[in-house]
Amino acid sequence: PVPPGPAAALLQALGLRDAPQGAPTLRPVPPVMWRLFRRRDPQETRSGLRRTPPGATLQPCHVEELGVAGNIVRHIPDRGAAARPPEPASAAAQCPEWAVVFDLSAVEPAERPSRARLELRFAAAAAAAAPASGWELSVARAGEAAGPDPGAVLLRQAVPALESPVRAELLGAAWAPNASVPRSLRLALALRPRAPAACARLAEASLLLVTLDPRLCHPLARPRR
């Protein structure tokens, strides 16, 4: 229940439906989220107190580092990770497919998506045994049935190496850019080596979703003439 009194009013002013209970599982804050926070509030983090440099005006409702409009950035973990069976070592022809599930129910209908970046990290062993010609990532819509099923392929992308996270832009592929965000996103991923090589193993999947809530967005006040 929403706490009574001023705390409820402040929560509402911050556009939060209810007081979050804190992370059910303590997990580290992803570096990209720290970087984005520090980009916006460098004084706060370092000194613990806020000071605005005179004349500095950050463009409201814009995420400079990602180059898109937005005032809410969410790092959404894959819900399917726990249910994924351990992968058998297999020859390239039978590389496994992975079902990933993202819970987007926290996104409000008024929020307009401006970026949906899938980020995949693979186990180091596969990175070391990468084929010279690289890999091909395919992302398909997974059906409601348990486990991945091929479904419609949303995008294919060449992946030269696996040392750094593999990123793929889903906005425009998984749902139309001007459509509202679905409540849940189920995908079937496959990473196939272009030449015979050992299969890669998915270590972590996450989604970086940027949205713009126009209700919390004021146009930049024009300087007085």
Binding site: A7, D41, E44, R50, T52, N71, L216
Partner: protein, 119 residues
């Protein structure tokens, strides 16, 4: 934590006073990752002349505020003084865990009073 106003009255001319909002005090420290709090500040003070005129480097004075201060100086009963309110604000960002175990960064406009003015 707020800066105590000297003498318990309106505390001299209109200007920004320190007000630090601690999320621990509000009981949000379990779900707010950063910041731990922020300097929201607040405006307080007299808007009589010359305070109704803007200070050096401050926001330009509103003619109406100067008019009211003049009227008050001439005939105090003819309406009150202008009000001491925020004239320039700046945003903050908050990093927190939501109820779906997502890490969320939200940007909020107009959360910190940088300057006060008479209006």
């Amino acid at each position: 934590k707020a800066e105590p106003v000297a003498g318990g009255g309106l505390g001299g001319a209109c200007r920004a006073r320190r007000l630090y909002v601690s999320f621990r005090e509000v009981g949000w420290h379990r779900w707010v990752i950063a910041p731990r709090g922020f300097l929201a500040n607040y405006c307080q003070g007299q808007c009589a002349l010359p305070a109704a005129l803007s200070g050096p480097g401050g926001p330009p004075a509103l003619n109406h505020a100067v008019l009211r201060a003049l009227m008050h100086a001439a005939t105090p009963r003819a309406g009150g003084l202008p009000c001491c309110v925020p004239a320039r604000l700046s945003p903050i960002s908050m990093l927190f865990f939501d109820n779906s175990d997502n890490v969320v960064l939200r940007h909020y406009e107009d959360m910190v009073v940088d300057e006060c003015g008479c209006r």
